[in-house]
């Protein structure tokens, strides 16, 4: 008994649909399979079996070398990254002039050396997200009416003579109404002036202000960021996989509060 034509058509369509669905499913599976990022083996990221960290260890509290030791915020950060990536860390102490050349010539895998993001190097270098902002901060009493640089006209601003703070203050003097600049020999004196009421505010870099506030815990001070000086980790632009791994590890350190702990250790 021959099958009816409608049944044959039904079976054919069902078969075709089945094949098409399997094909679609397979294609989607393959697309998804290839779109998933898989961790690159750590040995491929660091072919020397260690993370060689270029550092200019003459820059406390970020990196300092003694005859037998190397320590600082950058050093602890590098070690924490190494732990996160499960790779041993070796430090290569270099002068600042040689840092980027050492990276370019594969003498180091990564630079962790209080490096400012330099836009001119972006073609050759990948920077991580900033791990510290060392820019200038306006330091006032917590209850001061001065909340930012625009509130300064008519007030007294203490700063270190000849410093970046003076250059920045003079820049602001061209933008807003006059305020008095009180120059001191040291930034700590400028902060003393703000704390003791000899000045209404002080302008220093964040690192100096942080050190100072550690020494004067009873001063209820407010810090307002004035300029941005972001420190970041640099890797070679032709190793985006390595940069991605570093960035991922750094994000983990930030999320888990480990970076904040390291910073608090020194600043």
């Amino acid at each position: 008994m021959a099958a009816s034509p409608s049944r044959t058509v039904f079976v054919a369509i069902s078969l075709a649909l089945t094949v098409w669905l399997w094909g679609l499913g397979g294609t989607l599976f393959l697309l998804r399979w290839h779109s998933v990022e898989r961790p690159i083996p750590i040995r491929d990221l660091f072919p020397y079996g260690e993370m060689r960290v270029g550092v200019d260890a003459s820059y406390p509290p970020f990196a300092v070398a003694t005859a037998t030791d190397i320590f600082g915020l950058d050093i602890d950060l590098a070690r924490a990254l190494g732990q996160e990536l499960d790779i041993p860390v070796r430090f290569v102490n270099l002068g600042f002039d040689g840092l980027y050349d050492a990276l370019r010539t594969d003498q180091v895998d990564v630079l962790i050396s209080a490096l400012l993001v330099d836009p001119a190097r972006r073609g050759a270098v990948i920077y991580s997200p900033p791990y510290y902002n060392a820019g200038l901060v306006l330091v006032t009493d917590a209850n001061s009416i001065i909340e930012n640089m625009r509130d300064l006209p008519g007030h007294r601003l203490a700063l270190e003579f000849g410093s970046q703070a003076q250059t920045e203050a003079e820049r602001w003097l061209r933008r807003i109404h006059a305020f008095d600049i009180l120059p001191y020999e040291l930034p700590e004196y400028a902060l003393d002036a703000a704390r003791l009421g000899e000045a209404d505010a002080a302008l220093t870099d964040r690192i100096t202000a942080s050190f100072y506030l550690q020494q004067h815990p009873n001063w209820d001070a407010r810090l307002t960021q004035v300029t941005n000086v972001p420190f970041a980790i640099a890797t070679r632009a032709d190793r985006p996989d390595r940069a991605a791994a570093i960035n991922h590890a750094l994000e983990t350190l930030i999320a888990e509060g480990i970076l904040a702990e390291i910073i608090a250790r020194y600043l």
Binding site: F96, L116, T167
Partner: protein, 393 residues
């Protein structure tokens, strides 16, 4: 049909097209024109202390007006001489094809401001290097087989600018592995470089003064992969017969954390270390050879371990000029590192500058200007430290 529709549309709306063109033209007219760098009347430098000199970084400058502005400020500061780097790789990018335009414009403006130039040579073009597995190279790698190419460039430079630039420094800090292309430093090899350059340069310009490279102040011992102690290196240059191939010696001496009068010592890196190099010259009977200190100064970065405070930097710098004038009769020029960078280095080297990239003059600029030009200065530059209430009672 389609064309007819377009024509009809254009006929109906052409006025808007004209208005649009006028609006774009007006907006374009609102954009400020780039500052021009026309030469003004020739200037002369007024100075009471001709020892004052400064190292500039003009060759990387894109805008010509910034070169002009920098040199105006150098003149107004009272420095009649600059040291400037003229990289071989920038001029002879392709072998035997020279592009002098960048050098020309720096020289044009320097002459207009009445400023002399000491030229520093270096930086190897890619065609004169090779990157093979056996021969790794950087921009500072000059293999001996390329010495004659470099000598030819120096001779061409000397000939082209004869009478305008008569002082040429051959290389920079060859006692550092970094400056020697990350190779083991080699004083004898450096002497062979001087030898290759000396005769062709003098043939090209009989008045040229070839300066042997300034050495980086360092205590690196023999065999160190990073470099070699500058005093030992200079001795090795003399031992290799280098004195025959230079007319003057360039030096680098930095104060780091010590004041300028801190005594020199074998293991001390400070301003007076130049005296140790001078002793080597005299020991080898080369005491009549002039000396140019082409880099000196202090850094006032807040955290660099080799830096001082901005106020100390000013005091030390002025005292260094006074000391050199009073005690170093063998010195022709004392050049501060560095006048200004075209862009920020984004690290402590920015704190060697006298002027910011956006032409803000730092207090040290005014201090050097007051010294060089004999301007009166204020007795006190900063306020006394605030006094804690408890300690004042």
């Amino acid at each position: 049909m389609h064309d007819r529709l377009i024509l009809r549309y254009l006929r109906r709306h052409w006025r808007w097209g004209v208005r649009g063109v006028i609006a774009v033209w007006l907006l374009n007219a609102l954009v400020p024109a780039s500052p021009r760098a026309l030469l003004g009347p020739p200037q002369t430098v007024e100075t009471q202390h001709p020892l004052v000199c400064v190292h500039t970084r003009l060759v990387e400058e894109v805008d010509e007006w910034k070169i002009q502005r920098s040199l105006q400020l150098v003149r107004e500061m009272g420095a009649d001489t600059i040291v400037e780097f003229f990289p071989w790789a920038y001029v002879e990018h392709t072998k035997d094809e020279y592009d002098w335009s960048n050098v020309d414009r720096i020289i044009r403006h320097a002459r207009n401001q009445g400023i002399h130039i000491i030229a520093r040579m270096g930086l190897v073009p890619s065609w004169a290097r090779s990157d093979t597995d056996d021969e790794f190279s950087t921009l500072n790698t000059l293999h001996e087989r390329s010495y004659d190419d470099f000598a030819e460039f120096v001779a061409d430079f000397a000939a082209r600018y004869a009478g305008v630039i008569d002082h040429i420094i051959i290389w920079n800090e060859p006692n550092l592995a970094f400056e020697w292309g990350y190779r083991q430093v080699d004083p004898e090899g450096y002497v062979r470089l001087l030898q290759a350059v000396y005769a062709p340069a003098h043939a090209a310009n009989p008045n040229v003064v070839i300066l042997a490279a300034p050495l980086a102040p360092t205590l690196e011992p023999p065999g160190s992969p990073a470099g070699l102690n500058d005093v030992l290196y200079l001795q090795a240059v003399y031992e290799a017969g280098g004195a025959e191939y230079f007319d003057a010696l360039a030096m680098h001496t930095y104060g780091f954390t010590e004041p300028p009068n801190a005594p020199a010592g074998e293991n001390a890196l400070n301003f007076r270390r130049a005296e140790l190099l001078r002793e080597v010259m005299e020991r080898y009977g080369d005491g009549d050879t002039p000396v140019f200190i082409t880099e000196t100064g202090w850094n006032d970065n807040p955290r660099w371990t080799k830096a001082v405070t901005p106020s100390e930097r000013i005091l030390y710098t002025i005292d260094a000029f006074r000391l050199a004038e009073a005690e170093w009769d063998w010195l022709d020029k004392l050049c501060l590192w560095v006048f200004r960078y075209p862009v920020s280095t984004y690290n402590y080297p920015d704190n060697f500058t006298l002027v910011t990239p956006d032409f803000q003059l730092k207090p040290i600029y005014y201090a050097v200007q007051a010294y060089a030009r004999g301007f009166p200065t204020s007795e006190t530059l900063w306020l006394p430290p605030p006094v804690e209430p408890s300690s004042s009672q």
